[in-house]
């Protein structure tokens, strides 16, 4: 048995995700990143998730976990963090959960720079409810609610997070497992709002409908189209075409986190400042 498996609720495995679903890969990457960080253990780490395929992950992870209302994982996590700032809070969310119903909570979490690590499992679709188009379904891709291809332009969640004020913004994929682990690890170390978008394959609701082939083919698509940030910046615009997308660390900044600012208010209100 691998050491990271101690962080799983063994009696709950195998998980219920479809054959070939990438969520399992990212969930493993999260626990491996936690394991590498000596400050994190099962007693001081809280996993908060919303609703959706991705958010089932909290049920398989052996920490103090919170499976919350749709889109509201970040507000619950903010509450946990402010009630006890010593806790390490990790939010697991999906593309529909985070950018559709939870879109406002997401940008305001970024704005406040709450000390959370948000891992967005981006499968480009609402998988659990049968494949409706999400705000991150790429243009022209089919979904049950977009049988002729999606006409809505998708969000770039990383740009959104950066613009809204997050202090660590990165993207990785289920194919680049080692890179993903490193990215999450760095996100955990960042004091402030860390946002990591992890691209995962959804062979059942997304891949099948868009003729992307089996799960391995979808992962090969990630391998072929993901470009590391450094190379992406040097790439001429005429090569940034088709399905190509950048991965890596996009933005990092130092800023006071929300629990620190809030503590100051508590001190003033408690009579510290006279």
């Amino acid at each position: 048995m691998r050491s990271y498996e101690n962080f799983f609720r063994q009696n709950r495995l195998p998980h219920l995700w479809c054959p070939g679903c990438g969520n399992g890969i990212v969930m493993k990457a999260i626990v491996q990143a936690i394991e590498k960080n000596p400050d994190f253990n099962q007693d001081n780490t809280v996993i908060v998730s919303g609703i959706g395929c991705s958010s089932r992950a909290s049920g398989y992870m052996d920490f103090d976990t919170l499976h919350t209302a749709h889109g509201r994982a970040i507000p619950f996590a903010t509450g946990v963090k402010l009630a006890n700032p010593a806790l390490n809070v990790i939010v697991i969310t999906g593309d529909g959960d985070c950018t559709a119903i939870g879109g406002n909570h997401f940008i305001h979490g970024c704005r406040r720079n709450v000390d959370l690590t948000v891992v967005l499992f981006n499968n480009n679709i609402y998988g659990m409810t049968g494949g409706q188009a999400s705000p991150m379904t790429p243009l022209g891709k089919k979904a049950t609610t977009a049988p002729y291809g999606s006409v809505d332009r998708p969000f770039d969640a990383c740009k959104l997070a950066e613009a809204a004020g997050a202090t660590y913004v990165a993207r990785s994929t289920a194919f680049h497992v080692q890179h993903l682990i490193k990215t999450i690890e760095d996100g955990l170390n960042n004091r402030g709002f860390s946002f990591i978008e992890a691209l995962v394959q959804c062979p059942t609701a997304y891949g099948r409908r868009n003729k992307m082939g089996d799960p391995a083919k979808m992962m090969a698509w990630m391998r072929d189209n993901a470009v590391m940030k450094n190379s992406w910046d040097k790439l001429p615009d005429d090569k940034k075409i088709g399905d190509k997308f950048p991965i890596g660390l996009f933005f990092k900044a130092e800023s006071e986190s929300y629990d620190e600012s809030y503590k100051k208010v508590q001190e003033i209100a408690g009579g510290a400042a006279k």
């Binding site: 495995l13 195998p14 998980h15 054959p19 070939g20 890969i25 089996d214 799960p215 391995a216 992962m219």
Partner: protein, 69 residues
């Protein structure tokens, strides 16, 4: 053999990710769609199968040279 496999078949869902990403075609799916080690002698112990298994069903351990003899 350079490696030793531990398969947890009750977890395997037969997605074929390990089979596809194996550079040496060591693994295959059986008639019931579960993974099995078909060409163990070709294994180079790269660990790609374990790295990307979404169901934590396959584990690969390197066998040290002395132990293999």
């Amino acid at each position: 053999m350079k490696s030793e496999f531990t398969l947890k078949l009750d977890r395997c869902k037969g997605c074929g990710i390990c089979v596809s990403f194996c550079p040496k075609q060591v693994l295959a799916l059986d008639t019931l769609g579960k993974v099995y080690v078909a060409n163990h002698e070709n294994c180079i112990a790269c660990g790609q199968c374990e790295l990307r298994c979404p169901d934590y069903a396959i584990f690969m351990d390197k066998v040290k040279k002395e132990a293999a003899k």
